[in-house]
């Protein structure tokens, strides 16, 4: 990091947002809101097939009159993003897919955060055979080829949401463990821990009260970045047919389904979920970077 930029950042009023932070908030909030309110916003059942097969989305010229018609003349909603080869509405599916991808990504990250941070703090605080062993196991897991391991675990255990979440938690927990362990080791060496010990506090109390809250920072920043990884992994697995079962609306699966028609010119089935996932993962990456800048010491 450029020193000049850091100095500039720390002199900033912490209550105001930089432009980058504002963009990051918008890009992460929109998919989260879409996921929560998908049933309200969606115009079709995401799983309902119809006769309107492979319909293109309305052109920009048609769009204003269509919007007017839907809002004021009780016209039925068109397929805003077109329809796929089974006649399912791409707009509604893209919205519902945010649910699938974000629920899986957040669950996997919360689980691996809890496991990783707990083990990491203990491994940093206490150094004995057991904690050394845990740290080595974490190193070993981190040397796994991520995509292939996830593919093996999910395909052999069964392609369910739960198994995708468990597989990713296993792969991501070591990231949190390592970050927290390094931080806990630093915190442990600081004066106030020694003071606290000298005052007669029990180790478990020191662990909870001082080490844990002071070692959380890097893991919290990592959380945003790893959410992006998890969305990519979920979508990637489904893209190659080793993730959620079709016709579950999921961004990767939708892109894969559309890519067969893409060469015929039907671009909308792939491109709209593609844009959705691109902007979402960019949002989480940006949020991670912005957090890092803001809390950098």
């Amino acid at each position: 990091m450029n020193r000049a930029m850091t100095a500039e950042g720390s002199s900033r009023d912490p209550t105001t947002l930089t432009r980058m932070e504002a963009v990051a908030i918008v890009l992460t909030a929109v998919p989260i809101l879409c996921a929560i309110f998908a049933p309200v916003i969606a115009t079709f059942d995401p799983l309902a097939v119809s006769d309107a097969v492979s319909q293109p989305p309305p052109t920009l010229r048609e769009l204003p009159s269509l919007i007017w018609g839907v809002l004021f003349e009780q016209m039925p909603a068109p397929h805003w993003f077109g329809s796929d080869s089974s006649g399912m509405d791409v707009f509604s599916r893209t919205l519902y897919a945010a649910r699938v991808d974000l629920v899986i990504a957040f669950s996997a990250n919360i689980l691996s955060f809890i496991v990783g941070v707990t083990l990491g703090v203990v491994c940093g605080f206490r150094s004995n055979l057991a904690t050394e062993f845990i740290a080595r196991i974490a190193d070993l897991v981190q040397s796994f080829p991520v995509f292939i391991t996830a593919m093996i675990l999910v395909a052999l255990a069964g392609r369910t949401w739960g198994n995708i979440i468990f597989a990713m938690s296993l792969l991501y927990a070591p990231i949190y463990l390592r970050l927290t362990r390094t931080e806990a080791l630093k915190v442990k060496a600081r004066g106030f821990i020694e003071a606290s010990t000298a005052m007669g506090n029990r180790p478990i109390r020191i662990l909870y009260l001082h080490i844990l809250p002071n070692s959380l920072g890097p893991a919290l920043i990592q959380f945003s970045v790893t959410i992006g990884f998890a969305i990519l992994l979920t979508a990637g697995l489904s893209f190659v047919g080793a993730g959620v079962n079709p016709p579950t609306p999921e961004w990767g699966a939708m892109i894969a389904q559309g890519s067969t028609q893409l060469v015929l010119g039907d671009w909308w089935v792939s491109i709209f979920p593609g844009i959705a996932i691109s902007l979402t993962v960019f949002g989480f990456a940006l949020a991670g970077y912005a957090l890092e800048r803001r809390f950098e010491t």
Binding site: M1, N2, R3, A4, M5, L140, S143, F144, P145, V146, F147, I148, T149, M151, I152, L153, A155, L156, A157, G158, G228, L232, A235, G236, F239, V240, G241, A242, G252, I255, A256, G258, S259, L262, V263, G265, W267, S270, I271, P273, G274, I277, S278, V281, F282, F284, A285, L286, Y289
Partner: protein
């Protein structure tokens, strides 16, 4: 130096062995039924039992592990240098890997070549112009490209360059399905065309590889630019660079000096990305119908072909560790302080 390499080799070997053991038992712990996948769901109990014996799954797991490791009368074990036979094709797993690995390496190496040679000058340009539009632009590009899914951009590029503009070939593999590929020597079509002295085949294979390489390079340049940019601007504030600036060295000389100081972390990143791509190539390969290692691992996983899965994991991890080792050696050569 020899001691350093030997020590790293030893650690790597332990890692591969523990990974191999872990994978072997892990896939047998998971609630999958490869026998049912093999004979079909409507098979009779006899056929099921027969297939179970044929696959060796009737024996206790430890016995299976012993056979995998040491071999038995009919088959060679791991200590004889065999990864077993694929359950689907019956051929040795090593044969399949030897057939598919070159395609993946060709794709990855070309993409790395292009993205590194683009990313380093761009990253340096971003770092040497603080507070400018170039600085901001490289930052945003690095963050954006580094976060993107290659499969989504692959579809966009196919649509744009193949369907709309018609300047790139369709996603049909590494060379036109109608063309007779050159005799396989290395397995990489680009290299084989050079060996055969066929300029037409070389151009055709490069043309067919253009979209997959473009897609991968787009995704790869992101983190590399970000890394180069951050490390160069960090080393610009090091004492000897500031001294050089004060003495009046040119901006170009300063940039190359700080780039040299930033090489080590960038090399580490390239190693990590390389190993990531080895395992992650399955996405780009399935999108462009390239018959590489990723495709082979996907097929093996979906078919529950245990020996093939074990083989793929062992080969990918070994290659990864080899790359890390080479990078460590390169770093130690560049920086004597690391030779501990």
């Amino acid at each position: 130096m020899t001691k350093f390499v030997l020590k790293r080799l030893g650690v790597g070997l332990i890692q591969i062995v523990s990974l191999m053991v872990l994978v072997f038992f892990l896939i047998r712990l998971l609630p999958a039924d490869p026998v049912a996948r093999f004979v079909g769901l409507n098979a009779s109990a006899e056929a099921y039992a027969q297939a179970e014996i044929a696959l060796g799954l009737d024996k206790p797991v430890l016995e299976q592990f012993k056979i995998y490791l040491l071999g038995d009368e009919q088959t060679d074990g791991l200590i004889h240098g065999s990864l077993g036979n694929s359950w689907i094709s019956g051929s040795p797993v090593l044969y399949h890997i030897g057939l598919t690995l070159p395609a993946t390496l060709e794709l990855i190496l070309l993409s790395f070549l292009i993205s590194v040679s683009l990313a380093i000058p761009i990253g340096v340009a971003g770092a040497t112009s603080p507070n400018g539009a170039v600085n901001k632009g490289t930052l945003i590009y690095g963050l954006f490209a580094g976060s993107q899914p290659e499969f989504s951009w692959g579809t966009i590029f196919i649509f744009l360059f193949f369907v709309v503009l018609g300047v790139a070939p369709g996603p049909l593999g590494r060379i036109s399905p109608l063309t007779e590929p050159p005799d396989p020597v290395s397995g990489m079509i680009v290299v084989d065309s050079l060996i055969a002295g066929r300029a037409d085949l070389l151009l055709e294979s490069l043309w067919y590889l253009s979209l997959p390489v473009l897609t991968l390079s787009f995704v790869l340049t992101g983190p590399i630019i970000k890394m180069v940019r951050e490390n160069v601007s960090q080393s610009m504030s090091l004492g000897f660079i500031q001294y050089g600036e004060a003495v009046g060295l040119s901006k170009k000389m300063l940039a190359s000096d700080s780039l040299l100081a930033a090489v080590a972390p960038t090399l580490t990143l390239i190693g990590i990305l390389f190993s990531f791509m080895l395992g992650g190539a399955v996405l780009i390969e399935s999108m462009f119908s390239i018959n590489g290692l990723g495709q082979f691992s996907l097929q093996s996983v979906l078919a529950m072909d245990y020996p093939a899965i074990q083989g793929v994991v062992i080969v990918i991890s070994s290659l990864t560790l080899l790359v890390y080792l080479l990078l460590d050696v390169a770093q130690a050569l560049l920086d004597p302080r690391l030779r501990a």
